[in-house]
Amino acid sequence: MIINPGQESYPGRLIAVEGLDGSGKSTQLYLLKRWLEMKGLKVFFTEWNSSLLIKKATSKGKKRQLLTPTTFSLIHCTDFADRYERQILPLLKAGYIVLCDRYIYTAFARDAVRGCSPPWLYNLYSFACHPDMTLFFNTPLPVALNRILGGRPQLKYHEAGMDLGLSHDPYESFRIFQGRIFEEYLGMKERFNFIEIDGTAHIEKQQQMVRELITATIDLPRYRFKTLI
């Protein structure tokens, strides 16, 4: 049941993007997905906190503010496990390129900021394999903050980190919370071999870099559909 990462290898490839809200990672992953799809490759995209099965419980917990750091962490891990067991792992075995918008490092960063112990977190997620490539969109904090706070002023309670009691003002709370998450990301960079992408560059420039990296690392023609439709 527990997969030992590194012990097994699958024909598929796993690419994850990480970074702050507003770092531009989702845009870049979307463009990458379109490109790979149009090349006729087997691609699957999945994002954080999206398992239908678990979603009801998560949103109830968030809405009614039932979540503590421990249950927040466990319920997100349950969500991840559901997607991992039912989609990510079988698709990797089937030779897909699996694209993940946020992966276990999001949990490591957020939950550690909320006070969970990192060794406990690492063990919790130890059933998951590490990606072949983790693209870290390194966008300076003020830039990321401006992109979010400029465009979408309604912040959700947990998104703003209000549960940490950092400030009564959601915007101020969000700034402090994101700052701490950013520190966690920087601390993980080396340990988990993040590949840094300059999130301040033009969208086209970033995408070009991402595509070059992928082409250099992955033998793309191997991931074409083999069956005719």
Binding site: A81, E85, C116, P119
Partner: protein, 226 residues
């Protein structure tokens, strides 16, 4: 009080002045009956009690109940779902009650969850670390009943064996009788292995209700301060 390992962030276990008594045992072991007797016994002596059990959290109990109906959860997902249910009750019921000086009576605790996960192939260290958030109880009573007796009692009560308590999802046998016996043996073996590490007070549940109750209350009296 103390936690097994990392515990719950922000909780100082020294603030927990209550007690935690856990009762473990299969369905049909007489666990719930003994729980009621113990509760009467403690309340009669003037102790305030709170009951907790598995799958009773506000957060995920309804979803877990739903998931139990169909085989929709993967092994890791199910483990984590149960752990979430446990953590929610630990933080929102067990810990507050213990801060207030109550005796918390837990109808099953992490050991059942761990044994079930391990019987399904989970890694021991993974499970142990997962439940490092749990409080170490003052007493864990394990009501042990032979699988043959369990079958007799379950059939007498329900005239059928529960799908999960028979471990039918493991594919040990397509026959629920055989599967039940084999699955309960697996669980008992796991409890025997955990015994050394967690120090259960094992009670022979094959005996009469009265003698089991007497055995349990004498164990409870050994908890200091009770």
């Amino acid at each position: 009080m103390q936690f097994y390992s990392d515990g719950i962030p922000g909780i100082d276990p020294h603030e927990l002045t209550g007690r935690l008594i856990v009762m473990e045992g299969a369905d049909g072991s007489g666990r719930s009956t003994q729980m009621d007797i113990l509760r009467d016994y403690l309340e009669n002596k003037g102790h305030a009690t709170v009951n907790v059990g598995l799958r009773r959290s506000t957060l995920v109990s309804a979803e877990l109940q739903e998931a139990k109906q169909g085989n929709v959860l993967g092994e890791i997902t199910r483990s984590l779902f149960y752990a979430t249910d446990f953590a929610d009750q630990l933080e929102n019921r067990i810990i507050p009650a213990m801060k207030a000086g109550f005796i918390v009576l837990a109808d099953r605790y992490i050991y059942t969850l761990m044994a079930r996960d391990i019987a399904r192939g989970a890694d021991r260290d993974w499970v142990r670390s997962l439940y490092g958030i749990a409080l170490v109880p003052d007493l864990v009573i394990y009501v042990k009943v032979s699988p043959a007796q369990l079958i007799e009692r379950n059939l007498r009560k329900n005239a059928t064996l529960d799908y999960w308590e028979s471990g039918m999802d493991l594919g040990l046998s397509r026959d629920s009788f055989d599967s039940f016996i084999r699955y309960q043996r697996l669980i008992q073996k796991e409890f025997a292995l955990m015994q050394a590490e967690y120090g259960f007070a094992t009670v022979n549940g094959n005996l009469s209700i009265r003698s089991v109750a007497r055995e349990i209350s004498s164990r409870v009296m050994e908890i200091s301060g009770l």
